[in-house]
Symmetry: C2
Subunit: 244 residues, 2 copies
DNA sequence: GTCTATATCGGGATAGAC
DNA sequence: GTCTATCCCGATATAGAC
């Protein structure tokens, strides 16, 4: 759980023109792995099963994926890639901040609905040193792309947000999203009704807070909070847009 | 990581008069395990090593502890037990809420200082279904005892806290503490300076918030927050004092 | 380059002899 | 209560077929 070199791996875009055959095998292995993860959970799934289900030898599975964890990483990457257009669309159809944020969240929940347990395997890693952690160096690119959508959600709205807070807000909102997803993953209530309530109630509060933050009276409080945020997150700026 | 039956295990208090010899072996195994966890980390430590260091066979180690995880659970229990008197003392030497909370936190940080990596192994489990999770049924007793100290911290101070919030606050403060410990575990700054800053700044804000919460003007905001808390934590009350 | 087959190793966990 | 032998699995390495 500590050292798992999930190498850059052989993505289609990585080199020559996608060598169809190989890509197909890779996709089949990833597919059978995800299916197994979904039905039996990450830990119950063995690489031997994955290989058999995909109709290849164990060695082939390891040829394409450096480790079991690398399969999860591949899922993570694929998810981000597939969600990007959906997230862009979500933003373009709403103006008010609350609606925009909600739209982003809904894309995530919809996309991950079928993979709740899998997501659990991922978020089991809090340690930023672990490659699969949402806070690791290895997942930075994915994370930054995602944070960027929260920056866009803020940009595109008419609400005025103080500059000092605005610089921190995308990352905070991303954290807020992660918290919601975490709660959702382990929400045992029917149809995750509790998560739904949590989203409604917390979103309203979050947006109010952002609104209030601009009031002159709130300035001293805001300064203290921004200072706190700086302590937690350091000086990392909002990631610049990474061109696809 | 999903199913790990760490059974109630054979604690001295569990049955006959402590059968000294057996207890001694058990303690030796736990001791060598913790030593290994500290120096080499949880994952690098093998049960074979633990057994050899304790001068027993692997099977013997498994006779006393159902799994490697059970060793961590034993550590968790022992920690709670050993910290209780220290926590009581911390409370009895301070009056102001901020001082009382800080004193509780300091006991935790001091106690766990030598075991930072070990604590990491524990908190790797967010899933409330996992026995070792700080939110699991298996750790409920330990958790409840700990939450109870936050209730005491609130009780013993002169600050007036609205009843609706007061009922929720001990659990919230416990969560706050868990967040701080989590940050601390992975804080790579020298001497965990960042955690120290985080404690100082956040504690001031937390106490201010509690103070403000009683202002009549804050009532509507407070109601919304309390409602939110209820959604997250359900109706679980502050645990009653469990008599030792 | 893509894949099979197979062997080996380390490590958690267990069964059964003593 | 304790030990030995064993099992299973993830990971890795290698030899070689195509």
């Amino acid at each position: 759980m500590t050292s798992t070199n999930s190498q850059p791996d052989r993505t289609p875009a990585a080199g020559r023109p996608a060598s169809s055959k190989s890509e197909e095998t890779r996709a089949r292995i990833l597919g059978s792995a995800l299916a197994s993860f979904r039905t039996r959970g990450f830990h119950q799934t063995t690489m031997r099963e994955v290989a058999v289900d995909a109709g290849v030898a164990v060695g082939a599975a390891y040829y394409y994926f450096d480790s079991k964890d690398a399969l999860v990483m591949a899922f993570y990457e694929r998810a981000q890639q597939e969600m990007e257009p959906l997230l862009s669309e979500a933003l373009s159809s709403h103006d008010a901040l609350e609606r925009r944020l909600r739209a982003l969240l809904e894309v995530k929940f919809d996309y991950f609905r079928a993979n709740r347990s899998l997501l659990g395997a991922l978020s089991a890693h809090v340690d930023p040193q672990h490659p699969l952690s949402p806070f690791s160096e290895e997942t930075r690119e994915i994370r930054d792309k995602d944070i960027w959508f929260f920056a866009r959600a803020l940009e595109g709205t008419s609400m005025r947000v103080p500059a000092d807070l605005k610089a921190r807000l995308p990352r905070i909102l991303w954290m807020y999203q992660m918290g919601l997803l975490l709660f959702w993953m382990y929400d045992r209530s029917a149809e995750q009704a509790r998560t739904r309530q949590l989203v409604d109630k917390s979103l309203a509060i979050v947006v109010s807070l952002i609104q209030f933050s601009g009031f002159p009276l709130m300035r001293p409080v805001r300064k203290r909070v921004v200072d706190l945020l700086q302590t937690v997150f350091g000086d990392e700026p909002v990631p610049a847009r990474i061109e696809a």
